[in-house]
Symmetry: C2
């Protein structure tokens, strides 16, 4: 069967499958039906079959999916077996939270440097990484292979910094500032808007419990 392009909608659900399959592996579960996955994940079984069929992850009638091979296959599609070198720009709370978050490393995202402008924290360490002076970022990016910049700086400074690292050749930007980034370079941007998720939670609370 010719491999076909997997839609972005499916791709966006793959990390979730990957997490669940990892969890099943940890529990020692070797096979799972689409129905069991459906119950655990809160996605319909037909959606699951459709998603997994997209990349040839066919379950067998009466057997279900082999947890380990499905886990490996999804990991391969997501590029888990590759390593991305990442830098964090902005060592405030969010930057520090990301630097301390062990799960990224396990998924192939290696944080190799943290930058800030605040002289009172430059030189201090987060885990084994010294916080560097933002003035040195250009040299650092030119001397090291940097795949992803995680932008954790105030909103007003985000676009300028995104522009700066993109010009230096960084191809991936993970943006935590409240405004979606658009920059005139050939880069991939993923925006994380925590407030949006909280506002949806607020909406659902209002809608369901009609608090007045």
């Amino acid at each position: 069967m010719a491999s076909k392009k997997i839609s972005m909608a499916v791709i966006k659900r793959l990390p979730r499958y990957h997490r669940y399959l990892n969890y099943l592996l940890e529990l020692g579960i070797k096979r799972v039906s689409s129905k069991e996955l459906s119950t655990r994940m809160g996605i319909t079984a037909s959606q699951i079959r459709q998603d997994l069929n997209c990349f040839g992850g066919f379950g067998q009638q009466g057997y279900g999916y082999n947890v380990e091979s499905l886990y490996t296959e999804i990991g391969n599609i997501l590029g888990i077996n590759k390593t991305f070198n990442c830098i964090i720009i902005g060592a405030g709370n969010m930057g520090q939270a990301l630097a301390n978050y062990g799960n990224f490393e396990k998924r192939g995202f290696s944080i190799i440097a943290v930058f800030d402008v605040n002289t009172s924290i430059i030189g201090k360490k987060i885990k084994d990484l010294e916080i560097r002076d933002l003035n040195d970022i250009d040299d650092f990016v030119l001397e090291n292979k940097v795949d992803i910049a995680m932008l954790c700086v105030p909103y007003r400074e985000t676009a300028g910094l995104a522009d700066r690292v993109a010009k230096l050749g960084v191809k991936g930007l993970w943006n935590f500032s409240p405004m979606d980034l658009k920059i005139p370079y050939d880069v991939i941007v993923e925006n994380v808007h925590l407030s949006d998720s909280l506002m949806v939670l607020g909406y659902k609370l209002n809608d369901k419990f009609s608090r007045e």
Copy 2:
């Protein structure tokens, strides 16, 4: 026209419209066409018209949308004018990042307490909030109106704590642990999975620049 139920897909896009309209207001822009919004937001103009028509936010031919009234209307739908009392459970980096994030307050999410188990930080302050002993959480929730618990504790402890506060009557859970929460109470859960977003970024980088 009878008001109709707005679909969750539209609701999920509303915070983004709200952010953009706020930005336009700050720039002193009074009206905007769906085409201009489309260019700024990277959503098609027809999608924008369709989304905004859902709740009667009709633009006028040749005039566009009144920025301020659209902003207000979307805010009303999202319940921005209401206040939600929130507590943060877990004062690690993510909990501290949330406690320090000023934008939530502006959107009606008031953080009224932070809890942790770590005796070396209990009693310390984050902004004007003292970190409280997690042992006191039951009394606090019973004595105060708590709408939302923000769960920033390690994965293994999340389900138990979610269960504990849900039993006490907290109706909204904002979960930052890597596993989706399912608990047998009548609560609303929004999960934030930062790794998922990063994995999608990694996939797109591989796909576009085919790094090998």
